[in-house]
């Protein structure tokens, strides 16, 4: 399922033609490979406002082997090397006037950004102040970063992380994620961290070592990609799918050294069976990825009850029932557990013919936000990941025009890959991601839909 247009646009003649005619020029994205450095080049860090995170960021980058350059001067003079990442520490901005400093720093630095570069802005959350001026400045960064995302070329991304006072320890994992190739298709996102006990000394190569991860819907597509990435990162994957998908489920489990567990998650006794299986075979569970989902598309006026009910049962009710059962099973869900629920762009933007699907996927977001405080209380997290246009066997069956348009209407001008969703989920599953809770992370290349 190669992206023929992207390949063409990056060929010799294709480059000429797409430039001449002003056609979209999707880049070959920098994606994570084990053993690669965090960034392919140096980073530059600037400040606007007080900038309480700058020293921590510098340390974090240096520890990761990333050289940190001095900010590019307004006249364009610099250290000579083009940055692979531009970080703006905007903590401490108290009013719109201070945003000029953001502009002064970003404009020359972003101009020199490498391909597949990263722009990452850090700020205090707008909600954490009573001052309208301060809130205005902080919220302004949201519009700024989303616009930068739309201006960037060559596979670069821009994201914003709100860091409340006291949540500084939570910073490392999201910063590493947004700078790395793991976030290749995550663009224009705004994340709000929370204070948490973040374990130290995580292994960058196998952050999930020794962890047991359940992945539902693991027999194919995005679920199989999630299983592969989790296993690559060190987890033992319990791959779950309906019994009818058992043949490919077994193949996935065998490929990654995991185990196959055939289960219809909508069966009345499914939560109990999963609990019993995890207790018997693993003594507990660290990560649960609710990925299984189905579509039964029809316009609302033509939709029968069966279509509506089956989508709700698989996509939403099963996630609720299983999560509840895991929480209720004494000691089964380990204290620092991570639950990641796969939502969808449709759940955010809505989609014609998908009232049932979009409702179920929006419901997931509500569920995640409602459960987040309880999860935080036990040192755990629950988050949602909302994929945009992801190239799978399902999209390959779409009509050519619909598929091409669907895959191009985002800042990166291409569809994402299942691995992009998987990388985001694996990141949220890391012990170090303790400070990311109740969030919805879109993996959509900054789609124009629902933004």
């Amino acid at each position: 399922m190669s992206d023929w247009y992207r390949d063409f646009a990056n060929s010799g003649v294709g480059t000429t033609i797409t430039r001449q005619f002003g056609l979209p020029r999707p880049a070959v994205l920098r994606r994570y490979e084990p053993g690669e450095p965090l960034l392919p080049g140096p980073a530059v860090i600037g400040t606007a406002g007080g900038g309480r995170l700058r020293d921590a960021l510098t340390r974090l980058l240096r520890d990761a082997g990333v050289p940190v350059l001095s900010p590019v001067a307004a006249d364009g003079s610099d250290d000579g090397e083009r940055p692979a990442a531009v970080l703006l520490d905007a903590t401490g901005v108290t009013g719109p006037g201070q945003l000029a400093a953001a502009h002064d720093f970003l404009a020359p630095a972003v101009k020199r950004l490498r391909a597949s570069g990263r722009v990452l802005i850090l700020a205090d959350p707008p909600s954490a102040t009573d001052s309208p001026a301060t809130a205005a400045a902080r919220q302004a960064l949201d519009g700024l970063v989303r616009s930068i995302g739309k201006e960037l070329l060559n596979g670069s991304t821009a994201n914003l992380v709100y860091v409340p006072d006291g949540a500084e320890a939570s910073l490392a994992s999201p910063v590493r994620f947004f700078l790395s190739g793991r976030s290749a298709y995550v663009d224009g996102q705004v994340l709000t961290l929370s204070a948490a006990d973040v374990p130290a000394g995580e292994d960058d190569e196998t952050p999930l070592a020794g962890r047991v991860a359940v992945v539902t819907g693991a027999a194919r597509g995005i679920g199989a990609a999630i299983a592969r990435v989790m296993a690559r990162d060190g987890a033992h994957v319990v791959a779950v799918d309906v019994p009818a998908a058992g043949e490919s489920l077994a193949a996935v489990a065998n490929e990654i050294g995991g185990t196959a567990f055939q289960l219809d998650i909508t069966a009345a006794d499914a939560p109990a069976r999963l609990v019993a299986h995890l207790r018997e075979r693993h003594g507990g569970v660290d990560v649960v990825v609710h990925n299984a989902g189905i579509t039964r598309d029809k316009l609302l006026v033509n939709m029968d009850a069966a279509r509506w009910n089956s989508v709700m049962a698989v996509n939403l009710q099963a996630q609720l029932d299983i999560t509840e059962a895991l929480l209720a099973a004494d000691g089964l869900l380990r204290p620092d557990a991570r639950v990641v629920c796969v939502s969808s762009q449709s759940g955010i933007a809505g989609n014609r013919g998908q009232t049932n699907y979009a409702a179920s996927k929006a419901g997931i977001i509500g569920m995640v936000r409602a459960w987040a405080p309880a999860f935080a209380g036990r040192g755990a997290t629950i988050n949602a990941v909302a994929p945009g246009f992801i190239v799978t066997e399902m999209t390959a069956r779409m009509p050519f025009g619909t598929r091409e348009v669907g895959s191009r209407i985002n800042s990166l001008q291409q569809g994402g890959l299942p691995v992009d969703v998987a990388e985001t989920i694996a990141w949220l599953s890391q012990p170090g991601s303790a400070g990311v809770n109740g969030q919805v992370v879109r993996v959509c290349g900054q789609s124009m839909l629902g933004a």
Binding site: A239, G246, E247, A250, A251, N254, G257, Q262, R281
Partner: protein, 430 residues
């Protein structure tokens, strides 16, 4: 005849896997025995996380076997995700193959010679071996060994058009020329097994198997294969009315009772069971569903001795019961392989018959009646089908799970009849 049981360690049944059984020349028409056995082992590997694991031994077999499959099980292991350093060997005891394989693995575990093992079986009646005509084979051998042109020409003169007809494997006893169904029909008549009770057993088999699938019982026993996720012989809507319409296919005259419905069809499939010591299972966080307590084989002289071809289990069970100090009623589940409905019914009738038990089995009293509500409660071969060597593995894994679900200390009896007048029986206990 009875010997004292040796106390000691017993092999644990950890779990099993099989592919859905397919009626001959259907879903698995293009799959070989090796394909099916490899897929079945790989499904087991996936279920229990055995990738790259070196298990003590893999023992399996096939009844209908190509000459090229002389090392069938070892080849399947090499094609699977198990460690290539896992030894394997083939066994063949007709329809008893699968259970016999489990007994062999269990015995080595009990003796401490291996800590884990996989027992299995596979059979295809679709991809069956066809041999060249016996006359042609001789000519070809002669031709191959000829040294001179003259000798070769002489050998070639032995060629005849009729030799093009291949040797097709037949489901018939070599010493009697009778099909197994014909033998079973003789026994059915001898024991006066009626059409209705055979059809009743058949309907129950289908309904029980369908219900077990519906409640997800087979979710951790079966892995779909080549698009099939349930046994293709299964008829959930089977009924007495439908079965009554079928004409007898075995036996002759008005007394013939055996139809295509109450006899198992030719089937393709494979099964595998993971056995281990308790310690091996515990180290890996794997369950112990049940233990294999004892096993017994028996054979009868169906050629000259006046006994039915498929009656050997009737002889094997009392020997095993005596050794274990058990009665026929001391079981929570009975798994009597349904080669034919009449075989199951004749076997049970024989155990209830004072004369048979006294004269043939040498017992003072009959073994007695089996509580029918404990018999083949999740369906058996009439519904699932019967790929000869795969049936034993199907039953062992399924019964072990049933016993595990019923709680500790539950006991199950397995009885499998086999061609050549043989029988293999075993006891499992949770």
């Amino acid at each position: 005849m009875a010997t004292t049981p040796t106390p000691g360690r017993r092999a644990a049944i950890v779990g099993g896997n099989r592919i859905p059984f397919a009626r001959s020349n259907s879903a698995y028409a293009q799959a070989s025995n090796q394909d099916m056995l490899t897929a079945t082992i790989d499904g087991l590997v996936a279920r229990f996380g055995l990738q790259g694991e070196q298990v003590g031994e893999v023992v399996a077999g096939a009844v209908l076997k190509h000459a090229r499959d002389f090392n069938l099980t070892r080849e399947a292991v090499l094609g699977s995700r198990l460690s290539a350093a896992t030894p394997a060997y083939d066994v063949q005891q007709a329809c008893g193959t699968g259970l016999e394989a489990a007994v062999l693995v269990a015995n080595k575990i009990a003796l401490g010679q291996i800590e884990s093992g996989i027992a299995g079986g596979t059979d295809t009646t679709s991809d069956a071996p066809l041999a060249v005509n016996e006359d042609l084979r001789r000519v070809l051998i002669q031709l191959n060994s000829a040294k001179t042109l003259g000798d070769r020409l002489k050998a070639l003169r032995g060629l005849r058009p009729g030799q093009l007809a291949p040797e097709i494997p037949r489901n018939a006893e070599p010493r009697t020329g009778l099909a197994m169904g014909d033998h079973a029909a003789i026994t059915a008549e001898e024991w006066e097994i009626g059409r209705e009770e055979q059809d009743e057993l058949t309907v129950r088999s289908h309904h029980n198997l369908a219900a077990a699938y519906d409640r997800g019982f087979f979710d951790d026993l079966v892995t779909p294969y080549l698009g099939l996720s349930r046994d293709s012989n299964l008829r959930p809507d089977s009924s007495m009315e439908k079965l009554a319409k079928l004409r007898p296919v075995f036996g002759t005259g008005p007394g013939a009772t055996m139809t295509a419905g109450n006899s198992t069809p030719l089937t393709d499939g494979a099964s595998a069971v993971l056995l281990a010591s308790d310690e091996w299972a515990a180290e890996r966080g794997l369950p112990v569903l049940a233990h294999l307590v004892d096993a017994q084989t028996a054979a009868v002289d169906y050629v000259h001795g006046g006994e039915g071809l498929l009656m050997a289990p009737a002889y094997a069970v009392p020997v095993m019961l005596a050794r274990q100090g058990l009665t026929l009623q001391d079981f929570d589940f009975y798994e009597i392989h349904e080669a034919f409905a009449s075989t199951v019914l004749a076997t049970m009738k024989a155990w209830e018959d004072p004369r048979f038990c006294k004269e043939r089995l040498g017992l003072d009293a009959p073994l007695g009646r089996i509580d029918r509500s404990k018999l083949n409660v999740n369906g058996s071969s009439l519904a699932a089908g019967h790929p000869f060597a795969a049936t034993g593995g199907r039953i062992v894994a399924m019964l072990a799970k049933m016993l595990h679900e019923a709680g500790p200390g539950k006991r199950g009896l397995i009885s499998i009849c086999a061609a050549g007048g043989q029988g293999v029986v075993a006891i499992l206990e949770s």
